[in-house]
Amino acid sequence: MIRFLVGKLAYLIPTFIGITVVAFSFVRLLPGDPVLLMAGERGITPERHAQLTAQLGYDRPVVVQYLDFVMGLFQGDFGTSLATRRPVLGEFFALFPATVELGLCAVILATIIGIPLGVFAAIKRGSVFDQVSMGAALVGYSMPIFWWGLLLIIFFSGILGWTPVSGRIDLLYFFPNGTGFMLIDSLMSGQSGAFTSALRHLILPSVVLATIPMAVIARQSRSAMLEVLSEDYVRTARAKGMSPFRVVGIHALRNALIPVITTIGLQIGVVMAGAILTETIFSWPGIGKWMIDSISRRDYPSVQGGLLLMAGVVMIVNLLVDLLYGVINPRIRHS
């Protein structure tokens, strides 16, 4: 197991270096002088320009600048936002819980609906249920989620008036930011109605963000289940007279879920990309919206830091999924 772990980690190092190179090159590749860009439209005197260039280290060789950048990363220095003059890392982690809360809800929703849908479709292969649910999954998979979000707003917020249009909670409520997760904080605050309000704000964005992962998980669960159901040991179990529930629920399902776990893990990247769109539509104060705002404000250090941190998060989650896969599937671990 340790060798497996070390192997996985070693494999990540070149990728990590690549990610830092991409993020580092980002500001350097921008057309124009970074100092002029930071000065903005006010302009800058030549003396001040030279001073800033030296201060920021842009007059040194690129390799030195890069190494400096990487050393900074290890010390938690991801640069300073041009818009707020605050460290990028602090900004990121202030908004990160909102995205995690939304993303987690979406993944949980996608899993608890997607897996049963796929499994039942496989058991009832060729039935109306199979055709309808797999048709729906294909529609979900093809869904432009930014449009889907707008449609849900029109229907549930506009026509029915059930859910709010934007934000994480009604402005009425105020409580200290304990965990950063609005559902938990609102519950702990003890204010009546706060939790319901947080939940009502969360539901539409979660559904929107869950749509594509749900479709992918359902399709994957179905094909994994179909494959397992045709295995010899399933036939043996049936021949021995086990109840269909036991055969499917215990023998087949456990093995079918192994590849599905990887699929769920891979959805984290999809959810991160989806968060950019979902958070923009629902004005959800998370890192997706922050990235979009930073790009449109030309706040390049924030974009650079955000790019790096989001890629880092995806990388770590993928690593954890790989490890989990190794734990539950010994064949992978020992190959």
């Binding site: 432009p144 449009w147 995806v314």
Partner: protein
Amino acid sequence: MTTKPATTPGPLREFWFYFSENRGAVIGLCVFALLVFTAVFAPVLAPHDPVHQYREFFLTPPSWEEGGTSQFLLGTDAVGRDILSRLIFGAQQSLIIGVVVVTIALFGGIILGLVSGFFGGWVDAVIMRVMDVILAFPSLLLALVMVAILGPGLMNAMIAIAIVLQPHFARLTRAAVMAEKNKEYVMAARVSGAGKLRLMFKTILPNCVAPLIVQGTLSFSNAVLDAAALGFLGMGAQPPLPEWGTMLAEAREFILRAWWVVTFPGLAILITVLAINLVGDGLRDALDPKLKRS
């Protein structure tokens, strides 16, 4: 008595046999054909100029709604442009996006994958690590940042999306090349003196085509979806170009007042992407021998 000699059906025939068994795929193909028709004949089919602003008809509802007129079947947008005409011309944009992105990604991916799989060693290691890096970023985010560097616009958006989708082609080609390159027919070609380029492109590549076609189809729908998303975020096609994602971005502020400006462009995106994905599923089933008779 004469009996017809038993002929084996041609590869295209055989492919169509399996493909047409999948009803969804055939429907998808029909919708896609309709879309191509619409795009090609857009100037003839569209009732109005897609960028002309009818100043007396701001946010006119569709013709069947109260206040709608038969002049504008699907209504008009906030500056009085005919939505149906914009949708029809938008089909052109989406198809161009799909074709350009898949061509760039396919071309780049095939070259990188062939070189990587054929030469192996450090060349392979370097190329594949670079692909890993691209895949480590959430795709839309990377495309978004690239467009921020290159400057917003449809061409830059297409390049960015192609770069993001390209590693899938490189990996597929590499895997196929690795599987093929030690087979006997390649050895035979090598012994009879075929050069490296000939081996790569004429001997090996044609046998790696099936997975690439399937991936190409899926990438086509991804490209349409991602380009629309970039347009929606204001980083893709720029107004007044009638691109579906950009139309949605312009419509956002009217969602609670005028449902039609939001509904139709999104529906167009969904139908297009769905049709292509249906075709993709059918292609995968028809081209993948493992799944053929299951």
